[in-house]
Symmetry: C2
Subunit: 220 residues, 2 copies
């Protein structure tokens, strides 16, 4: 049974992990018969956003604690996870990836990335273990693996595509119902809510991504 890590960044697309992308990743992993290890960093969120008004709220929340809502409590501090425990890793999207896991939303190509996530991704990549990234997460992956010439998609947003090129990687336009596969680097990406018009459209790409990652693990 493939043992696949899923990295969350909070709970809610404006300040944390995108809930539909996270849930559908877990749903399709379950359908594919994979064993799942859900993780998040034990750090404060960059901020808390009211998802109706889109305004900042005067409170503080912890990324691991809020991510546990999506994980139904079954979650591990990413600092305690070693690449040797996993066969593959998937990062759902949401602004949490660009605000909590990294500073991408504020600093673009010059962003900093959470140390533990960065170390885990580098170890997975070195060990040639498949990595999947959804929505804005491919841009975070691009920063961690800068100058590797990896081919990724974040849909067709020209600013983010340009940032990926500045980081020394390649961008390929894609619709949300499809995936981009870099076979050499064993990296699979899908645009999801970077451009999806519906949860069903995002789901099509996420289902393909999950199944491709599981196939890569099985065929290794």
């Amino acid at each position: 049974m493939a043992r696949i890590g899923v990295v969350l960044s909070g709970c809610g697309f404006l300040d944390g992990a995108e809930i539909y992308e996270s849930t559908l990743t877990l749903f399709f992993l379950d359908q594919a018969g994979a064993d799942v290890v859900i993780m998040a960093p034990d750090i404060d969120q960059h901020h808390v956003i009211n998802h109706i008004t889109q305004e900042e709220m005067p409170e503080s929340r912890n990324v691991l604690v809020e991510s546990a809502r999506i994980a139904r409590g079954n979650i591990t501090d990413i600092a305690k996870i070693d690449a040797s425990e996993l066969d593959a890793l998937i990062m759902p999207g949401g602004f949490g990836a660009a605000k909590n896991l990294s500073s991408l939303a504020f600093d673009g190509p010059g962003a900093s990335v959470n140390c533990e996530l960065s170390a885990l991704i580098k170890d997975m990549h070195k060990a040639k273990k498949p990595i999947g990234a959804i929505c804005i997460s491919p841009a975070v992956l691009s920063k961690i693996l800068a100058d590797h010439g990896i081919t990724l998609t974040i849909g067709s947003d020209s600013d983010t595509a340009s940032a990926i090129k500045t980081m020394g990687n390649r961008h390929k336009d894609s619709s949300a119902d499809n995936i981009v596969v870099d076979e050499k680097n064993r990296i699979v990406t899908t645009a999801a809510y970077m451009c999806a018009a519906s949860i069903g459209e995002a789901g099509l790409g996420i289902e393909k991504l999950v199944n491709h990652i599981v196939t890569m693990v099985d065929s290794h």
Copy 2:
């Protein structure tokens, strides 16, 4: 296109709506081509639970604002929704249904129910519009429609089944991968995380529930 309401009760299974049940309801509704109206009451949560420790946190959150995380901001105060706008209604589960939408978790068969939800459900039922309820929500529905002799499932939990009977309705045991249909009352229920061992198992029952509700609307 069927216009189907979805009632949320926060964001996270211990103090709000169960995230997987809510997301999969929306996913299968989208796949069935339904138009969705997501709603929640504009009230404070009963409490806030840390989903790692399962302990209460010293803070206050609003049910409508937290539900908006699952709705990606596209949510309406349930007080503003009239049954005439909807073809059917679905209530996902989570402790929010038993703590925020009602006091079922504390008061059992003697529970009180949120007024706006109660009025909306009674109007839907009078108009013979289909109602779906998932996980613990069938027990809330049972309280609103007490003494109607409705047949419902919450899985096989004997205490909750007994409470449903005390409320003047009928309980039928069911596994999470299936549904119980009361054709006369046009009510469909599934146990989901009352007994599901996995997100995939809960998904099987939720998919059947959603498709049955949409078929009931189409065949009317």
